[in-house]
């Protein structure tokens, strides 16, 4: 990511300053990683005798388990090997090694080792941990997709939080009304369709408002995003306290339950993790794949990226940048609003005040961490979802670690990434910059 050479020109030396700097920081990174490996070995020496048990669901219904007995020491040794190898590899190959990919090789071992360390003498069901990570990752990844579409088009979307919140509120009200009007039979079927649809529409309305303010009235996109977040909080709290709290019929939507995918759900280990989730989870996977394809493989994606990177260039070949940005804001609003419906229709079963609780911001963090790429963002959302799930697991098993540490991880990681401390990621060049049509 760091080794992009400066544009070559007759008079520029072959190896640019940037490349040399990248090489040096790659070396430093290698040393640091290798040192971490040594630390892991050090930690292993003290904890070979204690034990910890990891369990896996073979399948949900039969309640069959497979289990692994191990000790923190063994886990630390694994982490040490993985980290040491990565560090040496990085040292040896220098800037040619893309560190972000290699992170995947050693970081999970550390996570497992740390968890093993904390769970000494306990039993943890990892299958549950992973499936709830996937569930928690859903709203985060969808929010990240929404923000990503905006930024790819050259808009700056910090209103994901507000769009989710309004989506959650609208979904609950619409679902409840469907239930009321159509009766329990038709309503239970229609509600889960009507709720998310209305949520998506409300998100689109907000997206349209923001695009209109930014493009037509030149309102700074940070200000309009703030307006939406702040206003959404006020409006949904107001709705809750004035209407939903008293008229609870309007806040008892038919909930969206988990679905077992036939056959696949019975696959050992993988079934309980991947194929027993809510429809939301499957939609999340689909959106990720579709979005990746659309952004990188279709005409729409090409033009979207061009208007985010260099709108003038897009305009000179006859592309309507303004229209692209409007459409991107609408689509992003729909996705964020839809993600909001998950909160009220699945997690809670009703709308609660401020129920997005910062997920919109974590979504933006996931987008940055995933380098404005749907798969990357999904991966980052999974990491953040895992942090959530792990925190719950630890608190259930009575491990006394303050949950605040894990809760802060996404935010701190984002600050580090944005600051370029561990390799800069580059977003669309013109995100947030107003563009005037010719």
């Amino acid at each position: 990511m760091t080794a992009t050479a400066a544009p070559v020109n007759g008079l520029v030396p072959a190896v640019s300053e940037a490349a040399r700097r990248a090489q040096r920081s790659a070396r430093i990174r290698g040393i640091v990683i290798a040192a971490l490996g040594l630390i892991a070995f050090g930690l292993a020496s003290g904890s070979m005798t204690t034990d910890v048990t990891f369990k896996f669901w073979l399948q949900q219904q039969g309640k069959a388990f497979a289990q692994v007995d191990t000790s923190p020491g063994e886990l630390w040794i694994l982490a040490g090997i993985a980290t040491g190898v990565t560090g040496i590899w990085q040292l040896w190959r220098g800037a040619a090694v893309r560190w972000r990919l290699w992170l995947v090789l050693w970081l999970p071992f550390w996570v497992i080792a740390i968890m093993g360390h904390l769970l000494v003498g306990q039993t943890a069901v990892l299958t549950n941990l992973f499936s709830s990570s996937l569930e928690y990752a859903f709203p985060i990844s969808m929010g990240a997709f929404a923000a990503m579409i905006c930024e790819r088009s050259g808009m700056f979307d910090i209103a994901v939080e507000g769009q989710m919140l309004v989506g959650a509120c609208a979904a609950s009200i619409a679902g409840s009304m469907a239930l009321q009007w159509l009766g329990p039979d038709a309503g239970t079927i229609a509600g889960p369709i009507v709720g998310p649809t209305v949520a998506a529409l409300s998100g689109m309305a907000i997206g349209l408002l923001m695009a209109w303010l930014a493009i037509r009235y030149h309102v700074d996109q940070i200000i309009s995003g703030t307006v939406v977040n702040f206003g959404a909080l006020g409006l949904t709290n107001f709705m809750y306290l004035r209407v939903l709290q008293t008229y609870t019929d309007y806040n008892t939507p038919p909930t969206i339950e988990k679905i077992q995918i036939p056959l696949l759900a019975d696959v050992p280990v993988l079934g309980p993790i991947f194929f027993q989730g809510t429809p939301y989870m499957y939609i999340g996977w689909i959106v990720m794949v579709v979005l990746t394809y659309f952004i990188f493989r279709t005409r729409w994606g090409l033009r979207l990226r061009a208007s985010g990177e260099y709108p003038q260039a897009a305009a000179t070949v006859g592309i309507n940048v303004i229209a692209i940005r409007y459409r991107a804001m609408l689509l992003a609003g729909a996705i964020a609003g839809f993600a909001g419906s998950y909160l009220s229709l699945h997690s809670a079963g009703s709308f609660q005040m401020n129920m997005s609780a910062g997920k919109g911001w974590i979504a933006i963090a996931a987008m940055i961490f995933g380098a404005w790429n749907p798969i990357g963002a999904f991966g980052a959302a999974l990491v953040f979802g895992f942090a959530d799930a792990a925190q719950q697991l630890l608190s259930i098993t009575g491990v006394d670690i303050p949950p605040q540490f894990l809760a802060s991880v996404p935010y701190i990681m984002t600050v580090i990434v944005v600051a370029g401390v561990v390799g800069r990621v580059r977003g669309p060049a013109m995100a947030g910059q107003p563009y005037e049509q010719g």
Binding site: I158, L213, Y217, H218, V219, D220, Q221, I222, I223, S224, T226, V227, V228, N229, F230, G231, L233, G234, L235, N237, F238, M239, Y240, L241, R242, V243, T246, Y247, G358, W361, I364, A365, I368, P402, Q404, F405, A407, S408, Y411, I412, T414, V415, V418, A419, G420, V421, R424, G432, Q433
Partner: protein
């Protein structure tokens, strides 16, 4: 004409507030379920009178809650007892109490906007300032109260400034966008507060709620010699600090550098100013102001550190700063207005059961209208302004 012309800059903010209230009343009407039931029962005239009556009732309650009830004042003048005066003045006092933290955070944001930096982290700086003040007060318990009080206030400043320094430094050194970093640091700050509130040092003995011990042993003295009024010297300090900020921005060389950088960064570089230094200084000053606000909130008003000490002050501050034209005097007026809204909102909530959160929504609308002056001009068919003085935050700040 000349006196009218001088009022022109006030037209947009005034109309923005008016428009926000109009939109707010539309929402009030359409969430008035009993009234809507009347409408669905086929009595539209009754619906309109009821719904409008409710809106008027709500807004009147808001006003009396914010500024006081005239009969009470009459009573106070007749009786002349401190008790009667306290009752009459209480709404005003509470309005100023609510305005105090807003003045501090509003000033914080105004300084950053003036300098072309988008500090969205007022929240984090505010709560950490409050936390620093609380911790210092607990640490120095037993020392003479004035010393503890002073040290706690300084701690608030230092904590807030430190939390502002981080994003400022990162922007100056690595170009990290301050909007992203300050928002993320807001959440980190909230987690730090929660963590701190779990410690035995902060928690009252046997307490399990995330609330600190009461630190009324260092309470900021009350301003009025009337019983039961919460208005404290923090408000006066806020006004003094506003004057100091004004002096800093407009009478000192550092303030000049900040304003130049905020208005035209290339010209500031041309004139030999350091862009990075300005960014860091702006963020530190901004953070310090928000932190001091947090310190006064905990030392003067609530006397107890808790998770919800921050009622979105950092966000409201953006509205205040825009509304007040990024001028300290404007911020004071806007803060008192919003303080009145928040405080009057309590009265409205009690009297009419309309949730206070309506005002959060209205405040958001105010920001929207102030940030889109062309929209307001279009609605009210005003002539466009020839030149834009002052420092609109939307110019230059986003770069």
């Amino acid at each position: 004409m000349s006196s009218l012309a001088r009022l022109r800059p006030l037209a947009i903010p005034a109309l923005a507030v008016l428009s926000a209230f109009i939109v707010g009343s539309v929402f009030l009407i359409f969430t008035d379920i009993p009234a809507l039931q009347v409408l669905f029962a086929g009595r539209p005239v009754d619906f309109l009178t009821t719904a409008f009556g409710n809106v008027v009732h709500a807004y009147v309650a808001l006003l009396t809650g914010a500024f006081g009830d005239p009969p009470r004042f009459a009573e106070a003048i007749q009786q002349g007892t401190p008790q009667a005066w306290a009752t009459a003045v209480r709404p005003l006092s509470e309005t100023l109490v609510a305005a105090t933290p807003l003045i501090f955070t509003g000033l914080a944001i105004a300084v950053s906007f003036r300098s072309g930096v988008f500090n969205i982290g007022g929240d984090g700086q505010f709560v950490l300032g409050a936390l620093g003040a609380t911790a210092t007060a607990l640490l120095l318990r037993g020392f003479p109260a004035p010393i503890t009080l002073l040290a706690s206030l300084v701690a608030g400043i230092v904590f807030g400034a430190a939390w502002g320094f981080i994003p400022g430094f990162l922007k100056a050194r690595t170009g990290a966008h301050e909007v992203i970093t300050t928002i993320m640091l807001n959440y980190v700050a909230l987690q730090i507060v929660q963590l701190a509130l779990r410690t035995d040092f902060m928690r009252p003995p046997k307490g399990s709620e995330p609330i600190s011990q009461v630190i009324d042993f260092v309470r900021v003295p009350a301003l009025l010699p009337l019983p039961g009024l919460r208005l404290h010297w923090g408000f006066v300090v806020a006004l003094i600090v506003a004057a100091m900020v004004s002096y800093f921005l407009f009478r000192t060389t550092k303030g000049f550098e900040l304003r130049s950088a905020g208005l035209n960064l290339t010209a500031a570089r041309y004139a030999g100013m350091s862009a990075g230094g300005s960014i860091i200084l702006a963020m530190v000053v901004s953070g310090a102001l928000a932190g001091l606000g947090g310190a006064f909130q905990v030392l003067g008003t609530v006397t107890q550190m808790s998770n919800d000490i921050d009622a979105g002050y950092g966000w409201t501050a953006i509205a205040l700063s825009l509304l007040g034209g990024n001028r300290p005097s404007g911020v004071i007026i806007a803060a008192i207005l919003f303080g009145a809204l928040n405080n009057g909102g309590h009265e409205m909530q009690i009297e009419t059961a309309i949730p206070l959160d309506l005002l959060v929504f209205i405040q958001a609308l105010v920001i929207m209208f102030v940030a889109a002056p062309d929209l307001v001009r279009q609605i009210y068919r005003l002539r466009p302004k020839s030149a834009e003085p002052g420092a609109p935050a939307s110019e230059g700040a986003a770069a």
